[in-house]
């Protein structure tokens, strides 16, 4: 395996969960969002501080909202070291979609680290995802409550994923 110092991570989630908005303030936006509706993916980069203080460059593949991994999606996933799963807290169905996507993605990138982001923390009073469910999910993978509006939890989620990614 030839390895670059940067790492590829893919963002997955159902339609309208706020993936693009979540990272908009966090990444270097090189390309237009129109690629999401045409090619089905938009690639940006960001740098995350590691525990040793050294920055790690992440190449973020923001994949268009989907509820399954098709052939093209699988080709986009290839070579990913990390997965960012995004859920809309106000729609419980998006959690099932995210977990389903995670299972399908594992068949393509079994060694990839994964982090779950339950989005729309600013609308927590309308959440359908139960706190108990979130607590149970934390037993399986890192879970963060995030808000694209306020930016809460986003940096922590990226930092955790950067740590989880194997060297």
């Amino acid at each position: 395996m030839i390895r670059s110092s940067a790492r590829k991570i893919c963002m997955l989630g159902d339609f309208g969960v706020g993936k693009t908005s979540l990272v908009a303030r966090f990444v270097h936006n090189t390309f237009s969002e129109k690629y999401l509706t045409t090619v089905g993916v938009k690639v940006d980069t960001c740098e995350v501080a590691r525990t040793d203080g050294e920055p790690r460059k992440l190449v973020v593949w923001d994949m268009a909202g989907r509820n399954g991994i098709d052939t093209l999606g699988a080709s986009y996933l290839r070579g990913a070291s990390g997965l960012l799963l995004v859920v809309d807290g106000t729609r419980a169905a998006t959690l099932r979609t995210a977990l389903n996507l995670l299972m399908q993605a594992r068949t393509v990138v079994p060694a990839a680290a994964a982090v779950l982001m339950v989005n729309k923390l600013d609308l927590i009073e309308h959440w359908e995802v139960e706190p108990l469910t979130v607590a149970e999910l934390r037993n399986s993978l890192p879970v963060f409550e995030t808000s694209a509006l306020t930016g809460d939890g986003v940096v922590q989620a990226f930092a955790t994923l950067a740590r989880e990614i194997p060297e």
């Binding site: 395996m1 030839i2 390895r3 670059s4 110092s5 940067a6 790492r7 590829k8 270097h28 090189t30 390309f31 690629y35 090619v39 089905g40 993916v41 938009k42 690639v43 940006d44 980069t45 460059k57 190449v59 593949w61 052939t71 093209l72 080709s75 986009y76 290839r78 070579g79 990913a80 070291s81």
Partner: protein, 567 residues
């Protein structure tokens, strides 16, 4: 051993031994089967190098070919990846050898092309000591590699990159990622099963090449139109990278070393340029320019020559014009033409002489002053105007000598004797006019003058024509001279016979010409009758008349006057 056992031994002993033998053989076969994998390589090696090697190769050809075909169909990627490091060089070598001699021949021909640019480059090569081919290359290289990315095929991550200096910074990882995604998208959308991939894209003057390898791709961003050598060099470098990195995990230090060596843009450009087919020092644009210049020059020369020819022709016409002295022509300010000179009042106007120059685009301007010419023709006109001789008097000027001949009333003769020497230009006077008071003598003299004058007036025709409407002036002049001719004949006491004589040129059949002569004579007779000449006085010349047998060979008509003794 009891009886039963003894009996069994007797009956079945043979079968048992056979069964034991069979069991041993089966066990030995199973043992050989188990060790086949260990013994097979050695056995194959032995048979290959043994006396049956050729037969073995023949036997194995079919199953190996079948297996390879199956592998190509079922695992094309594996075959492609396995062949990748060798298939490129093999093809290039075969094609390269074939092209080398052709390119050499072409280059030799082109390098020796004798053009100004080629000469300038040769001078530069001689001056700088650099081979001519390199100088040509320096001037013809019209492309530049802006960026070169080595991209991990699977993840789309940038393994290494090189960029030309002074270019704006860019996010190579994001670009490489999107390139990979777009490549996957295109391949998934339009590529056939088996891995057709995006290989190039062009936007304006920018060209993107994606050169695919089994584990890593090269993305090359080029400005301009690269030569054929660049793609081959990139392919070669990618193969070198794959060969150096091997199939297993690569040491990052090794990756850095290998990519630094192979992504050196300066070396890449130089390598590609050295194989660039040298552009021919195209001679045809220079030839076209020279031809255009020669054409323009020739056009100017012809135009000047034409202008000068026209001016000279005008100069000749003006110089020959009686009563005009040309003092100069100013033709420098083309198309303006200034004609300067002296013009006698009795001379013909100059305008008709200028018509050819006007038709050729000139704008002539006449700057003339009056003078009195001593040319005989002009002196004759002057004398004619001043003396007003009757038709019975002939007037002529030769070398300034004015000759007056004929019959005229006595009063006119006396007046002419006094005034003629005073006419400007008349050096001497020879007056032989018979002074007569008899009207018949004067009339007869006028008729005799007409006999001389009429044949001088000719009407002209076009080829094959028997009517000349444009000759109205000629007919009018004839009619004017014939006015009162009947009265004159009566006064003179003689008869007159007017004959319209048609003529033809030397071409054409006799019968056709005879018809033309007759019709031309008839046309003149009819025209004169129309203008009041009595029809009884005029007839058309007959071919049978010996007087008109030898007519002038020209397309004309004239009038002949005969005076007979009896009215």
């Amino acid at each position: 051993m009891n009886d039963l056992e003894r009996l069994r031994q007797i009956l079945l002993d043979g079968d048992r031994r056979a069964l034991d033998e069979a069991r041993r053989r089966i066990e030995a076969a199973e043992q050989r089967q188990l060790t086949l994998a260990e013994r097979l390589p050695q056995a194959l090696e032995e048979v290959q190098h043994g006396p049956h090697g050729e037969r073995f190769a023949r036997v194995m050809a079919a199953p190996v070919a079948g297996a390879l075909g199956t592998a190509v169909r079922s695992s094309r990627h594996l075959i492609i990846d396995a062949l990748f490091p060798i298939i490129g060089p093999t093809i290039r070598k075969a094609v390269g050898e074939a092209m080398r001699s052709l390119v050499t021949d072409i280059n030799r021909a082109l390098e020796s092309s004798f053009t100004l640019r080629g000469l300038a480059w040769r001078v530069e090569a001689w001056r700088s000591g650099v081979p001519y081919a390199e100088v040509v290359l320096k001037h013809t290289l019209a492309w530049q590699v802006d960026h070169l990315f080595l991209i991990e095929r699977e993840s789309g991550l940038v393994l290494d990159r090189a960029s030309a200096p002074a270019l704006p910074a860019l996010d190579a990882d994001a670009i490489a990622g999107m390139l990979t995604a777009i490549g996957d998208f295109v391949s998934d959308s339009v590529g056939r099963e088996g891995g057709d991939t995006l290989e190039s894209a062009r936007v304006g003057e920018h060209l993107l090449w994606l050169i695919q390898g089994p584990r890593a791709n090269l993305a090359c961003f080029i400005r301009g139109v690269p030569g054929t050598g660049l793609h081959a060099r990139l392919q070669e470098r990618l193969e070198r990278i794959h060969a150096a990195l091997g199939a297993g995990d690569a040491d990052p230090a090794l990756v850095a070393s290998v990519s630094a060596e192979n992504l050196d843009l300066k070396a890449l450009t130089a390598d590609a340029a050295s194989e660039e087919p040298r552009r021919p020092t195209a001679w045809w644009p220079l030839l076209l320019i020279v031809l255009a210049l020669v054409g323009v020059l020739a056009w100017f020369m012809l135009r000047d020559r034409g202008w000068e020819t026209r001016v000279e022709a005008l100069r000749g016409r003006l110089a020959d014009h009686p009563g005009f002295v040309l003092t100069g022509i100013d033709a420098g300010d083309r198309p303006r033409l200034v004609v300067r000179g002296l013009l006698d009042p009795d001379a013909d106007p100059l305008q008709p002489l200028l018509q050819p120059a006007i038709a050729a685009g000139a704008q002539p301007q006449l700057l003339v002053q009056g003078y009195l010419s001593t040319a005989d023709a002009i002196v004759q006109r002057r004398a004619q105007r001043l003396l007003q001789p009757p038709p019975s008097v002939r007037i002529a000027v030769t070398d300034g000598v004015l000759a007056l001949d004929g019959v005229a009333p006595e009063a006119w003769v006396e007046q002419a004797r006094l005034r003629a020497p005073l006419v400007a230009g008349v050096r001497d006077l020879r007056l032989t006019v018979e002074a007569s008071q008899r009207p018949e003598a004067i009339a007869r003299a006028e008729l005799e003058a007409l006999v001389r004058e009429l044949p001088e007036l000719r009407g002209r025709f076009e080829r094959g024509e028997a009517a000349a409407p444009e000759s109205a002036a000629f007919v009018d002049a004839l009619a004017e001279r014939l006015r009162g001719i009947g009265q004159k004949a009566a006064t003179a006491g003689v008869g007159i016979d007017l004959v319209a004589v048609g003529c033809n040129d030397a071409t054409g059949a006799d019968s056709t010409n005879a018809g033309l002569r007759g019709r031309r004579g008839e046309w003149l007779r009819d025209a004169l009758i129309e203008r009041g000449v009595p029809a009884a006085l005029i007839r058309v010349a007959d071919d049978a008349d010996p007087q008109f047998r030898d007519r002038p060979l020209e397309r004309s008509v004239f009038l002949h006057l005969d005076i007979t003794s009896h009215p």
